[in-house]
């Protein structure tokens, strides 16, 4: 894959996160085709997990986790990317198609509304045409299916500092079908705005009848009802010394959603997601810090769902790196519902509050391979049992501990 100056600029927009930027610095290993600007790349993501203790009926509900991954070996996903990035021309054009194969494709949940929302071991992560118009410094457009513009972590595990995902990532919108415009005002300021069918990940979804996607039923909004999104990114210039390259990013997405996070009533509803995140370079060589705040507002409900996370990465040697994440997640949907958004199946008095600590050691022993070990501790800070047990909805523990090995080959 080639990275031109515009890609770097868009990376500053936060579309590529802190950790992915680290990966982007590595030499990519695409299969080059005869048409030199087009590449085929991807990765195979596998893992092995040990959940100490007995009972996997109530696991921490962060994205891509589940009973089928506990205490065993896992194929997570295979991603195949066919890509022709924008070049430097005024009227440049390109495209990207990301295909997912394997268990995580089910969680991705992009199967088109045509297929009535059914899950599958195949999914389209992204499929868009990229266009540039010579407006000002250049207006970049994406039309089709593209990743959400907000969030610190990527849905691509290899681009994240940790293997397991944060709760913040788990409550963010993931995939949009629509039109996105990105513009770079100057070296230190860039922005994106977009319009999409819905907040949901379902491709070609609609907010209005007669679209009727199981299990949520018919849509109820007007035909003109769309999802809107916007973001802005500040990047510290070279003149700021060790802070050079640090970023501050803010974004919001508003639109129709199934509110599948929670299986709530009323359902579906309009939601607004807010995100604020930053990456900070430090005077210590190899040390980087990050922080993120995610908030989701489910309009018909008096909810209080948000996540605050801090990240730390230290590149000790060329091959050895350490990554830590600490997160506080509050999951209160509405008084009297006795359930949360992610903790939907867990009686939690009136809320779930979780503290999660994750530590990862990554040692890149093999070329093109990410190999890392991770320990994660999730703790119920609200005093309720949230984890463990052998019956779904009847947790027996306040703590959940996970040991995981993750091996990813990037090609």
């Amino acid at each position: 894959m080639k990275y031109n100056k515009w890609t770097v600029a868009l990376a500053a927009l936060g579309v590529v996160s802190f950790a992915s930027a680290v990966n982007a610095e590595e030499k990519a290993s695409p299969v080059m085709t005869a048409l030199s600007s087009t590449t085929i790349s991807g990765y195979v993501d596998t893992s092995a997990e040990w959940n100490p203790g007995t009972g996997n009926a109530n696991l921490p509900p962060y994205k891509f986790n589940g009973a089928n991954k506990a205490d065993g070996f896992n194929l997570d996903v295979i991603q195949l990317r066919i890509d022709k990035p924008l070049d430097e021309q005024d009227w440049a054009a390109g495209y990207r198609a990301d295909f997912w194969f394997g268990p995580d494709a089910n969680t991705l949940g992009t199967t088109s509304a045509f297929a009535n929302g059914g899950s599958s071991d195949f999914g389209i992560r992204q499929a868009y045409v990229a266009l540039r118009a010579p407006v000002g410094t250049g207006l970049d457009l994406k039309m089709g299916v593209f990743d959400s513009i907000i969030g610190y972590e990527s849905i691509e595990a290899g681009n994240n500092p940790n293997f397991t995902r944060s709760y913040g990532h788990s409550i963010e919108p993931q995939t949009m079908t629509g039109l996105l415009a990105s513009y770079r005002f100057c070296d230190c300021l860039s922005a994106s705005v977009g319009v999409a069918d819905t907040w949901n990940s379902t491709i070609n979804d609609r907010a209005f009848a007669p679209v009727n996607v199981a299990p949520y039923g018919p849509r109820t909004e007007a035909e003109s009802y769309k999802a809107y999104m916007g973001s802005i990114a500040l990047t510290a210039p070279d003149s700021m010394g060790f802070l050079s390259g640090s970023t501050l990013y803010a974004g919001a997405v508003n639109g129709f959603a199934d509110v599948s996070l929670g299986g709530l009533s009323p359902n579906p509803a309009t939601v607004t997601s807010y995100y604020l995140g930053a990456t900070v370079a430090t005077p210590v060589t190899g040390l980087r810090l990050g922080g993120s705040f995610d908030y989701i507002d489910i309009h018909p409900l008096n909810n209080d769902i948000w996540s605050l996370a801090g990240y730390l990465s230290y590149q000790a040697t060329e091959k050895l790196s350490f990554h830590a994440r600490a997160e506080y997640f509050k999951d209160k949907v509405a008084d009297g519902l006795f359930r949360g958004a992610l903790f939907a199946a867990t009686p939690t008095k009136d809320r779930a509050e979780v503290v999660a600590l994750t530590a990862t050691v990554q040692y890149d022993l093999w070329k093109n391979v990410i190999s890392r070990f991770e320990v994660r501790w999730d703790h119920s800070a609200s005093g309720n049992n949230l984890f463990g047990g052998t019956v779904g909805g009847t947790p027996a523990e306040k703590n959940s501990v996970l040991l995981a090995a993750n091996v990813i080959y990037k090609f």
């Binding site: 022709k84 495209y95 297929a115 868009y128 266009l131 079908t177 609609r206 209005f208 679209v211």
Partner: protein, 397 residues
């Protein structure tokens, strides 16, 4: 993708339509893999559609229209792996695999299980060349139908939306076909397949005998170079007969029946530079296997394309379609028993390898009853006219 002499001949056999030929003139953007003769190509097809007025419970039911009203759409991503048979060798061999990803894969409905899915095999065949006479070319596996003016790939059609003629045609078959160039002006294709398709590996039995297959044939006349401005004009006739259990193949009651489809179509250059015209007639008859079948659907369409400048082209289609066949929900398969449709498309190729066009389509229920509109799922139609304004952006690689 490489295009050899035989590909050009087969294009003349009606396999590639008027605008497709225009695309074939452009330099392809295929990708050579490390296996030198194999190419990787395809496209990403997106659109944004506005259905004027309120109510999308009943939209014009032309192919690939479902679920796309009033919003942004990924239509499909197509990947093609292709190694054409080497015609310089007496016994040349090759293959082609066309994979569709995205919502349109559901509409194509080639899944061998019969279930809807965002992944579909459009074509997957072995191509063989045998040194018989001028050379006999075989395709064994899953291949596009030999019938019709328009093709499944929207980027190869003059208009983004499909005609009713295309809608009542079968899109793919599983079987074997043989193509032969009898002379410079005459070529033929014959084939046998499991069923009308498109479901891969479908069988006609137990509804029919195990030996019951679908048979197809076509003849194409190509005007020779000595005919002046008419040179290259084509006239194609096709017929397909077999068992059709699929609602996607048209003129179908949902219970399975024997179907015969006829097609006559041609494209014509004109003395006006850049102006091409075309015409197509499609007929699908059920059970009685004649032009007065128990159930039928037919469509006649006229096409005009004008290449105004290198980047700007205009495309128009007028169509009249009738049918007495109903869906399983007792709705006319064309939306109304008589439909008039007019489509105008303005294409401007602003970006390299990108097809960008704006299209306006008007469908009119000429049977006198409303066929379109209605808001809630299952609501009765309330309008006799449907107006669609859309933008289509596709990247071809």
């Amino acid at each position: 993708m490489s295009h050899n002499a035989w590909t050009a001949v087969l294009a003349g056999a009606g396999m590639v339509s008027l605008p497709a030929a225009a695309w074939a003139d452009e330099k392809p953007s295929a990708l050579l893999t490390e296996v030198a003769p194999t190419t990787l190509s395809g496209y990403v097809d997106t659109s944004a559609q506005w259905n004027l007025g309120t109510g999308n419970a009943n939209t014009p039911p032309y192919a690939f229209s479902g679920g796309k009203a009033d919003g942004f759409n990924l239509n499909v991503v197509k990947l093609t792996l292709d190694k054409p048979a080497d015609l310089k060798e007496d016994w040349g061999a090759g293959y082609k695999v066309d994979l569709l990803f995205g919502p349109d894969a559901n509409a194509l409905a080639t899944q061998s299980t019969g279930n809807l899915a965002d992944l579909g095999v459009k074509q997957a065949y072995v191509a063989l060349h045998a040194p018989v006479g001028n050379g006999l070319d075989f395709k064994i596996g899953v291949w596009d139908t030999i019938i019709g003016y328009e093709v499944t790939e929207s980027i190869n059609n003059p208009n983004f939306t499909r005609s009713y003629g295309y809608t009542i045609e079968p899109p793919t078959h599983t079987g074997i076909q043989a193509a032969y160039q009898i002379s410079e002006a005459l070529s033929a294709i014959v084939g046998v397949a499991d069923t009308f398709g498109p479901r891969i590996n479908e069988r006609a039995f137990p509804a029919r005998a195990e030996s019951y297959k679908t048979y197809l044939g076509s003849l194409t006349l190509t005007v020779p170079k000595s005919w002046g401005f008419l040179a290259g004009a084509t006239l194609t006739g096709c017929i397909i007969n077999g068992y059709n259990s699929s609602a996607n193949a048209g003129a179908n009651t949902g219970f399975g029946a024997d179907q015969t489809s006829w097609y006559v179509g041609g494209s014509l250059n004109t003395p006006i530079k850049g102006l091409k015209v075309g015409a197509a007639y499609d007929y699908a008859g059920l059970s009685a296997q004649s032009l007065s079948g128990a159930n039928y659907a037919n469509a006649v369409a006229l096409y005009a394309s004008y290449q105004a400048t290198e980047k700007l082209s205009l495309h128009a289609r007028g169509e009249y379609a009738t049918s007495d066949a109903l869906t399983a929900a007792n709705i006319p398969i064309l939306g109304a028993s008589k439909v008039v449709a007019a489509t105008g498309t303005l294409q401007y190729d602003l970006w390299k390898n990108v097809l960008s066009r704006i299209e306006f389509r008007w469908d009119h229920a000429a049977s006198g009853s409303p066929a379109y509109g209605g808001e809630a799922a299952g609501a009765a139609p309330t309008k006799k006219d449907s107006f669609i304004l859309l933008a289509n952006v596709s990247y071809k690689f």
